[in-house]
Symmetry: C2
Subunit: 312 residues, 2 copies
């Protein structure tokens, strides 16, 4: 089998999918796209590197899924509708079976969200996947980090800490935890539905407290989080609070949405959670100040062992 770069691109092109607004997809010098009138563009770029963002032994299809999921999560955090993406693949060598597995995961998630792969390139090097995703949003409807106000409730979707607990138990984590690490669920529909409700939002990728800190800095506010309120999965609930709390508060890789909203919206958010089948949990409040404090069950300040993941 000839495994030259052009065959590889042709192989990817044949599986890339279709949208009516893609005038030219993979195969020219660049893609040509027709954005709908009156929409703004939302653009994000996130890279996954082997051994840094996923264990080396992760299945190809899970790597494909996750490399798109982390970008869709950023679009979700902006309230955007996914539209198009590019994929820059650095591969240590030619491995058609690996590539097919990778595309299985990547494209399954792409199709689920109507996002089409329109370009990219392949280079030889250590395994790394750089994705740029482009979404669409109506003017004034984007969810930003800088709109939180003192008195807002702080909410989070889904459950926290599962991915961190899976890494802790590596290489043999319980399947339910491992699924959260390998195949995070970007909260795309939730993000779009939060427009007009949330004052500020972001996705939880580096750990709740670290990410909420970014939101608070952007909004010039502080926050108080009640540790006992952090949503916990059945799989994680078997762990007791000291260890579990650190995974939930600062573990990272959750890809849930954290957002703030007026207490007036509590009922609307409960209805939205029920409609989407996505748990939404009120975990604290925005306050005047500039610090994010976590409170334990006695109301005392609680400090996690580490304050979020940084790559450097």
């Amino acid at each position: 089998m000839n495994t030259g770069e052009f065959d590889l691109i042709a192989h990817i092109r044949a599986r890339a999918g279709l949208r009516d607004d893609v005038i030219l997809g993979i195969g020219d010098d660049a893609a040509l796209l027709q954005p709908p009138p009156g929409r703004q563009l939302v653009v994000t770029a996130d890279t996954l590197s082997a051994g840094v963002h996923f264990p080396e032994s992760t299945a190809a299809s899970d790597i494909g899924w996750k490399s798109l999921a982390v970008n869709l999560s950023d679009l979700a955090a902006m309230g955007a509708e996914p539209a198009w993406c590019t994929l820059s693949l650095s591969l240590p060598g030619s491995d058609p079976a690996w590539l097919d597995g990778f595309l299985d995961g990547f494209l399954a998630l792409a199709q689920a969200h109507g996002i089409v792969l329109v370009g990219g390139d392949t280079t030889r090097g250590p395994l790394a996947i750089a994705v740029t995703a482009i979404g669409l949003v109506a003017p004034g409807r984007a969810l930003r980090r800088d709109g939180a106000r003192a008195g807002d409730d702080v909410w989070v979707s889904g459950t926290l800490g599962d991915a961190a607990a899976a890494l802790h138990a590596w290489p043999a984590p319980p399947a339910a935890l491992r699924a959260r690490l390998d195949r995070p669920t970007p909260r795309v529909e939730l993000g779009r539905r939060l427009a007009g409700i949330a004052h500020a939002a972001l996705d939880v990728s580096d750990g709740l407290l670290a990410d909420l800190g970014h939101l608070c800095r952007a909004s010039s506010v502080g926050a108080e989080i009640e540790l006992a309120r952090l949503p916990v999965s059945d799989a994680l609930a078997v762990h007791s609070l000291p260890a579990r709390g650190a995974w939930q508060a600062s573990g990272g890789d959750d890809y849930e949405l954290c957002f703030t909203a007026s207490p007036d919206h509590r009922e609307a958010l409960a209805m939205l959670a029920a409609e989407l089948g996505v748990p939404l949990t009120r975990i604290g409040r925005i306050i005047d100040g500039d610090a994010v404090r976590a409170l334990d069950e006695t109301g005392r300040a609680w400090h996690p062992e580490r304050a979020g993941y940084t790559h450097f």
Copy 2:
């Protein structure tokens, strides 16, 4: 000095530049952009890896320049106006001086073309730079690969073979050749002015014959190129034709535009070349068929030693 990821991002953000249509740049989950009404988007993604796309000893500022230049060259080949880009940087470690040098080169070229860095990320790993560039074009004005017609002239901008000759003479190439390898000039203005003139176009990155082959396949035509007509720089002209011809015809890394146009446009193209100060050379013609043939000075078929660069 604290060299955490967030400081690194803050450092890049402070230097990223401004455009009125960037509603939110670096710093939120994603950038928020306001495209002008009635335009199409042109999107391309190209990665540079150390040791593959540039010699390991290349200066940081030249790597920065080149990583954007190869993407701008793709926008140029579509006739697009550059607008926004993302940058995914894989760095082996923290090196603020290297990063500043990289940004010097990247942002100097960005500013020259009015393109603004709106997002991206940094990861730890072997040096690699993945850029996605987004441009704008009026409907129907994009230069594609699939419009060449039998009877068209084949043109190329600038000169060919300099970068390949520089690599051949590595690590001590003549400065003029090395400049072409390290700091290619994307032909952005030329590309935009070719709308309405060129029938088909692409940029020469993998070698003239290989790239022209892509254009011919997309257009279902063949081409004849006269080797003696390939434009040569003063620095390269000191080499005689057998070696020089291979660099010019199949060396790669030229980042010139190759395009086809009706013979009726010869005068208009001569005037455009003079106006832009960019040499445009007629190097052959499009013919019926499906092959790209290079002819030597006697009119005989000529075969380069290698038919273009592939990464796999």
